[in-house]
Symmetry: C2
């Protein structure tokens, strides 16, 4: 489909853009005024820019990105980022080992074959370009050469199995080291309890939870925190924060005017309604001061009301050692397993508060509905994507929109359009999805943000498989010639075998299309990522025209975390395409290697110097990625089986062992390794700790920000000090003790 | 297929046999000489026969069977039997409620329709008998009458959901009561540990296990028992027991001869080789005495060697309270989840020793192979079963074997053969399966006997679905006319729609076949079960001609346990057939009700008075049965959907909601209720106990019989007394303590 020249144009243009962006990066990142953008995380942590900022050597950043140790990476960017970057290493190894066989053996075999040339002689309408001749499509049907491709499939599969096992072990090791860290995190002492049954009469929710857990864990249970409905309070809190910020901004403007205008300054004014454009004019400082006072009072009242009246049937429970918490999180507590469900607590920052109290039935129903919605979306996204891929050749575009002919026939435009048009359309379409899927996943009732991200990424995977992969392949094949289109829809000639043979003859050209797609993705995408030209421009604009306070300035260059729900599905898409065509069109391996190598360097740089993780999920993204790698392998093997059949290779049946073994491998990994990521194993949780965080700190960490004003925080800590002094000191915990804790926390909540 | 007259013959004959057997039972069970057979379990427990044995009223046993409370049933027959019998109640309720709608509404509608009569006018070759006219097949295509059958499907489904939920809760309650019993069983303090990693150098297996568990459970871990390879020892032990038994027998014969022959008795002699028929004659008593001495010595030596040298990477670990054991059994212990796998310990008597040490990889591979074997068996059993069902009409039999014509045309033979021949053949074929499946399941590496039984029963279920149900229906349909046969194999006319229409037109006649099958099963089967004529005859024969010692006599009437691997699949087969045809041919509900009602009464009688459970699995058969009931419902709904389509009912699409909801229901039950059966919940395990069994008793229970000679048992207890005195008394457990236990047990094992 894509002519070789168009392909090379595409490649060179992308490469040009990439080089330009890297050059821009190496210049811009050295300017001191830009350090906030290029060394954000280091500036936040107080470490300042690295050596790369001051040296003249334009490759220092590269050196730093590659040679920083994994331990340092975990320290700076967290376990999640370290595991995400190790995924790149894993894929590089898989494709590296695979290409050791595929490139030197399979490409020469394909290049020496003449199937395409023969086809061209028979039917000059079938055009094949240079790259197609390097693929399996060029090998003659039923010849012994196909044995090499069979061996290639085995080679790729076995390499994948080995590398995956090695890396799963490495990931478990990384995670275990972090979990067994001598400075434990609050979530290691906590469990999330959902589906608490209706409370008995004459008992508060807190008493109910305490009674249940004290009976079961008499020696280790410490305290609990009942989840409240924060909907109303959060709304108020947001208003309160906005008012405070407006006040600060107005004061800063006033201060500034003292310097720029007259010595006593100009008091800023604004109009009351609709973006400050209509209504009476008021003094901003006075207005916002009044607002802060008023809302502040309302917030306090609402805080008290929420704590008393909005308690929900969910709670965080806290234990006095992490082994106890790890063990409790794995056990069924109630006789009816759906009540009192105990889960490992998510990290405080990633708790999705509004989902915690959803009952298991509600979650089940929501899940059902969400999956139905996803199913429908998958189905209906198929239509635009099918149209996009039908435009993947300009010929088709002209066929459908004849008036474009004049423009299109001008050679440079023709070449560029042919190279980019379909890919750009596909990318735009796909970029709209992640936010939609995030929203859908959040609606499922998942309690932690990282799980929502995984859910969204998992849903995206279905799109990849059904729409991009199957859709583009199938429709790209069919629409590339109207004859093919007619074949498909003319029901008289419609048969499975005709579709399969059509599909087969067009598969490698589709591979070329995917190669272009991959190339575009990585050159332009990673160039933009590294150079951060968009955040840089936004930062300078905001700095010049808007930011008045220090806080606003900080927010202007705030780097944010990695957006895994965007990144991971993209990587998996590339991975899957490459896995599927690794043997059929081995050239794709080179591009995949380039994609993951550049990605590794660029993202490692960003992880070390730019992004600040919003929370830490303990690397739970890995099992998710792992199973998708295995799925990609499986799809690749099945594709290969089909394609071997099309090539009329009688021993194609030998490939069938591979998908079966892949299923076995997947279940083996799930049994063997997955539990290590799903829970904290007792052996790890039993490792000695240097110092446990005080219970007060743990409870504070799990108190939502809007319930924790500064004054409250102070009072709280005082109260807790009391409560804990009388409780933690002595092991055997009697009624008197639990009462004292109980009273003091009741007091706290009654404030 | 089965003519109405044949059907009635079959029914009456079976009923006659049943009445005869019940009559025999009510006479024979009153004879004192037979009490060992009819009241076995009560005689073993020392309670003696019930009132039914002495009263003249022939229905007292019925009264006792029905009105004994569930609590009493649990006490006498164990939780497993109680749960199995509650399954009958559950099914009776499902079918009872279902027939409330199906019988009074659907049967009259079917009876008033004339589809069969019309078909007969068009094609006199199509014959329909009386029962066919009471089924949905008789309803005209596409009429409004089909709405009633649609409602019927919903009615049956909703009844099933409600009853299942109610009963799952009841079962959980029954199980919970047993698990929370104040007199706890040894398995509640124990866990099974598998996949222990290779032991470090300079450490014994026991030290390794102790070190690992003491670190993780410092306050609750007590002791461990390393599993040994008992293969050689068991062989010797069996010989030793046989020799002892032979000696006793010979002595008893000698004693007897003192009475019957001369006062000093005749010393029994036997020849040495081949069943005592060849070789030199020896004095039996002297010979066996010598043998007992010799083998006894060898056994002792082998016991020592086994304990020292044959330790395997599996162990039982014991905790000092049942909550700790329940919690440990649910947690991942090792960083690599496949090592140190901790499971709830099976009951001591049901441990499958030879499977305990199998590594997780070996188990995975074995499972794969076993499932492949099962798959092949399912496939190849299809052939004989297809042949059997092709003979289900005598016409076919005569067609294939013309020489039978003379016999078959003699009317009484014709009727009887037509009624019984196919069913008997099917029953014989199916009765061979359970033993094969038990052997296959045992090969999987399952650690407990009850799980093996469930595995075998689960595999049988595949047979039921694929062979009996699909096979008989499909092949019975096709083979019933040679025209059908030709239709299927004539590839020109072969199409999905032709098969479906053939299938549809023949479905209700197949239902009649199944009704006969059900009737035969329950009348004859339960008659034999209740009257126990076979065990009775065997007992009297053995008693008269063989038994000399008291032990031999006891063995002759030993009742054994329920054979769930035979019973459960049979019940599920009936259940599935009835569920599938409940709406299509509602008459089947009456027979199903009769089957389960008679079954309930007969088996409750047997559970209370005859069978002695070999072990107690804690009712874990129920989730297994439950999911099969749900599967049967699902199959029934899909069948209904297809059949509605055949009847050209445009609203058939409304049925599609039901199978979807069934899937939801199944996953809901699995999430909600299954964990309560899979593990012991902490709330239940935390219930107070009256007295914990001493650790010595628990360890003894888990020591295999062949490692526990009488002398050893005594010494052991003495040693343990020492060990435990120094350990249990004080909570905080230091190095000194673990050493003392360690030494004493090492001593024990060095004996």
């Amino acid at each position: 489909m894509t002519a070789t020249s168009a392909f090379i144009t595409s490649l060179l243009t992308s490469f040009g853009i990439f080089c330009g962006l890297v050059f821009a990066f190496s210049i811009l990142s050295k300017w001191k005024v830009n350090h906030n953008i290029y060394y954000s995380s280091r500036i936040i942590s107080g470490e300042g820019p690295t050596a790369a900022a001051s040296t003249r050597n334009p490759f220092t950043w590269l050196y730093e990105a590659i040679f920083t140790s994994d331990a340092e990476l975990v320290r700076v960017a967290g376990l999640d980022a370290a595991i995400y970057l190790n995924f790149f290493v894993c894929i590089l190894e898989i494709f590296g080992y695979s290409s050791l066989f595929c490139i030197p053996v399979l490409i020469p075999i394909a290049a020496k074959s003449k199937s395409n040339a023969d086809a061209f002689q028979l039917d000059p309408n079938m055009t094949y370009d240079g790259f197609d001749n390097l693929a399996m499509g060029n090998v003659e049907e039923g010849t012994k050469k196909l044995w090499a491709f069979l061996v290639g499939t085995y080679w790729v599969s076995i390499m994948t199995y080995c590398v995956l096992v090695k890396h799963y072990k490495k990931m478990i090791h990384l995670r275990g080291k972090e979990q067994a860290h001598e400075k434990p995190a609050p979530q290691q002492f906590s469990c999330l309890v959902r589906d608490i049954p209706p409370k008995p009469k004459g008992m508060s929710r807190r008493e109910q939870v305490n009674a249940f857990f004290r009976k079961i864990h008499p020696d280790t249970y410490e305290n609990c925190l009942i989840v409240c409905n924060l909907k109303k309070l959060t709304k108020m809190w947001t208003k309160y924060q906005a008012a405070k910020r407006n006040l600060e901004h107005a004061e800063a403007v006033h201060e500034e005017s003292k310097v720029t205008a007259k010595p006593e300054g100009i008091r800023p004014m604004h109009r009351l309604y609709f973006l400050g454009l209509f209504g009476p004019k008021v003094d901003s400082i006075n207005f916002y001061e009044e607002q802060v006072r008023e809302i502040g009072r309302a917030v306090e009242a609402e805080q008290q009301r929420t704590l008393k009246e909005e308690q929900l049937p969910a709670a965080f429970v806290f234990f006095n050692n992490r082994r106890a918490a790890a063990e409790a999180a794995q056990a069924v507590h109630a006789p009816y397993a759906m009540q009192w469900q105990v889960y490992p607590a998510p990290e405080p920052r990633e708790v999705v508060w509004k989902n915690l109290h959803k009952s298991v039935y509600e979650r089940l129903i929501r899940q059902g509905l969400v999956y139905f919605a996803v199913f429908m979306t998958v189905l209906f996204y198929m239509i635009p994507i099918a149209l996009i891929s039908s435009f993947t050749t300009l010929d088709n575009l002209v066929k459908f929109l004849p008036f474009l002919k004049v423009i299109v026939e001008y050679p440079p435009i023709n070449t560029v359009l042919q190279a980019f048009l379909p890919q750009i359309a596909l990318i735009i379409f796909l970029s709209l999805l992640p936010s939609l899927l995030m929203a859908l996943s959040r609606m499922e009732g998942i309690p932690s943000q990282s799980h929502v991200v995984r859910g969204a990424s998992g849903k995206y995977f279905y799109f990849i498989v059904f729409n991009v992969f199957l859709g583009v392949t199938l429709f790209g094949t069919v629409f590339s010639s109207l004859a093919g289109f007619q074949t498909l829809f003319n029901s008289k000639n419609f048969s499975v075998s005709s579709v399969v043979s059509l599909f087969g003859s067009k598969l490698p050209p589709v591979a070329a299309y995917f190669i272009t797609f991959v190339a575009l993705q990585f050159f332009v995408g990673y160039g933009l990522e590294l150079s951060r030209v968009v955040p840089l421009a936004v930062y300078h604009l905001k700095k010049t025209f808007f930011c008045k306070t220090q806080k606003e300035l900080e927010e202007a260059w705030e780097p944010g975390p990695f957006e895994y729900h965007n990144l991971v599905p993209n990587d998996i898409l590339i991975l899957m395409i490459s896995m599927a065509y690794a043997v059929i069109a081995p050239m794709i391996l080179l591009f995949a290697l380039l994609y993951f190598a550049i990605g590794y360097v660029v993202l490692r740089n960003q992880a070390l110097k730019v992004y600040v993780p919003a929370f830490e999920s303990g690397g739970r993204m890995w099992p998710h990625i792992h199973s998708r790698i295995v799925a990609a392998l499986f799809i690749g093997q099945v594709t290969m089986m089909g394609y071997m059949g099309i090539k009329k290779f009688p021993y194609a049946v030998l490939v069938i062992i591979l998908p079966l073994f892949t299923i076995f491998f997947a279940s083996m990994c799930k049994m063997n390794y997955y539990p290590s990521f799903n829970v904290i194993s007792l052996a790890i949780a039993s490792e000695d700790v240097k110092e446990s965080p005080p219970m007060r700190k743990i409870i504070e960490a799990y108190t939502p920000e809007c319930l924790l004003t500064e004054e409250r925080a102070l009072e709280e800590s005082a109260h807790y000090e009391d409560a804990l002094e009388s409780s933690v000191s002595s092991r055997p915990m009697g009624v008197s003790r639990s009462n004292s804790v109980h009273e003091s926390t009741e007091n706290l909540y009654a404030l």
